[in-house]
Symmetry: C2
Subunit: 360 residues, 2 copies
């Protein structure tokens, strides 16, 4: 057997809706060739913005801004908030490694609060605010967190939104995995709890629900920030990839999105179960982990183990993983790994974990 | 008659190769679905990089980096060269307004040298270097310049490349219009004259030759800079829009690129001729202009006229144009306009210019 990758948070090729996207491409170029092939608006393709506004926002397409992947949206937001002026950003520990890099690249001082089984430590944010260290931005992945796999509880969501109102900081609710719950019930979005106060920015992506290569993400923004970031987008690339966005818009308009997500959830659940079974079998008493209720990732603590060294060796053993330490700003996580089960067929899971176990 | 726009450098919808792109989309998703829908490499879709390397580079796809439009490439380059460290960038006067914005945004001190009928003033660059003010980057649009319409002469090309070697500055050869010559013979590319010395970065785009909405540009870079910018790209959006690049790759592989360019050249020539005839008719003795031998733009000097005011009024008169003053860094150009003839059918040209003439 070749490489069994737990490294990348991507769907495996067999999960990609190829035929549906091919049909959507035909319709997009047949029905709106001038729109699909124009520079278009810096905020993205209007029909897609409307679909996103209806599903994730408050119905107002004027608050939606599509970008070439949601990470590009975070880059614009970081530039708008921190470039030149600096400021404080709070992230979860652990968090998405690329978010740390982007926030720092545009001048933010990045601090972290711990992530628990019910999500980020809201007490720590409250304490920071109370001590006069109000952040400019709190960056959270509330559902099936990358890399932790955990979900922010209802009570903490309400407290975080209340804190953002009381102290006037922005919250970026980065939610690429929210559609991918396969157990339990959804918590309300922070954006919804904010009730239009304008402190929460909602970010979504089609990477995990449709395909990475369409590179389409979107933010729902307060009006003033929307204008600022639209200007940054225009001054960076004039408009995002309209052809790709028009294809996604047709895919959604044709009713392909929901069935695609249902397929994705079923595959992810099967893979998660296979991964947990393999971990129980091969690492049972040496590892600490919890089964996520959705999403792409499972976080494994390996007490007393040099997980960085395991990860380095895992590349050579044909089972790449992500070092836990890359997901912290302070050198922690050296005894942890992030395992993405999204790209690994269930049948390969046991062999993959067996290879990892052999390295401990 | 509705709005007749001379403002935007875009092809009109009737020039877009819609059917060819629809067919290319089918093939891309049929033949390489996993590649077209993956994150892929931060430097772009491999088959497209190879096509670009063969046509514009030295055959080495490893030096090609595709971005979501060529302006995004300039943004990465500016960030790589100037962010944090500052430095000096020389542009042409006049030049592409968005280039000025991007260079300044990432920390460059922007200076300009005048543009003449045979291209930028190389003497001025030599004088700056001699005075110890060696730039980090010279930004030039050598063919059918935006907005000036002029082309850099062979002799000046050789001198500019020799200067870049002698003083060790980089030249960005921004060449979105080079394929669109409809008169005369091509000058050698600066990249070719550089003969691998690594001082010239070649930039191309499919916006003006295929369609804006595919948002695909590319740079051919020295190896070290390629690695730096690929890292910036990965840290900004992971990978560019693979689906769009796979469609463009199939479009090119199928032999659609050349016939598309031939069609585009014929349409542009017809439009340029119609514009020049209309200018001769309506503005003959009040305006100074030269017919460009290719590309999208004609530059009009209106001695003694407040062209900024004309441009403001032109919006209301349904004939938007670009103010010449936006294309300078020093307030010049208030008596000039940029007219894009690319999007205006030849039959509308006379009416458009008549509207402009009525505002003088």
């Amino acid at each position: 057997m070749g490489v069994i990758s737990f490294a990348r948070g991507v769907p495996s090729p067999d999960l990609l809706p190829v035929a549906e996207l091919a049909n959507a491409a035909q319709r997009a170029l047949e029905q709106d060739p001038a729109g699909a092939l124009a520079y278009g608006d810096g905020a993205g393709y209007a029909p897609l913005r409307q679909w996103i506004a209806s599903r994730y926002g408050d119905g107002d397409a004027g608050r939606v801004l599509c970008t070439n992947g949601s990470l590009q949206g975070l880059a614009f937001l970081a530039e708008a908030l921190f470039a030149g002026s600096g400021g404080r950003a709070i992230v979860e520990a652990p968090t998405y490694d690329r978010a740390i890099l982007i926030l720092r690249r545009f001048g933010a001082t990045v601090e972290s609060v711990d992530l628990h089984a019910d999500g980020l430590d809201v007490d720590a944010i409250e304490a920071a605010c109370g001590a006069g260290r109000v952040p400019g931005l709190v960056y959270t992945i509330p559902n099936f967190q990358n890399p932790g796999g955990v979900t922010l509880s209802r009570a903490k969501r309400e407290r975080l939104v209340a804190l953002s109102c009381a102290h006037g900081f922005l919250v970026l609710e980065d939610d690429p995995y929210g559609e991918l719950r396969f157990e339990g019930t959804d918590e309300p979005r922070l954006f919804a709890l904010d009730e239009g106060a304008g402190n929460v920015i909602y970010s979504t992506s089609f990477t995990k629900t449709v395909a990475p290569g369409i590179r389409t993400g979107a933010m729902v923004l307060p009006p003033k920030l929307h204008a600022t970031i639209r200007r940054l987008a225009i001054d960076t690339y004039i408009g995002p990839t309209m052809l790709s966005e028009a294809i996604v818009a047709e895919y959604c308009a044709a009713g392909n999105f929901e069935p695609g997500v249902v397929r994705m959830r079923a595959a992810l659940l099967e893979r998660r179960d296979a991964l947990v079974a393999a971990l129980d079998r091969h690492l049972g008493d040496r590892a600490v982990y919890a089964a996520p209720a959705g999403g792409y990732f499972l976080w494994v603590n390996l007490p007393g183990v040099d997980a960085d060294a395991v990860a380095d060796a895992a590349d050579g053993a044909g089972v790449p993983v992500v070092k836990g330490s890359t997901c912290f700003i302070d050198g922690r996580g050296r005894d942890a790994l992030r395992l993405a089960y999204s790209a690994c067929p269930a049948a390969d899971m046991d062999e993959g974990v067996a290879r990892l176990a052999a390295l401990l």
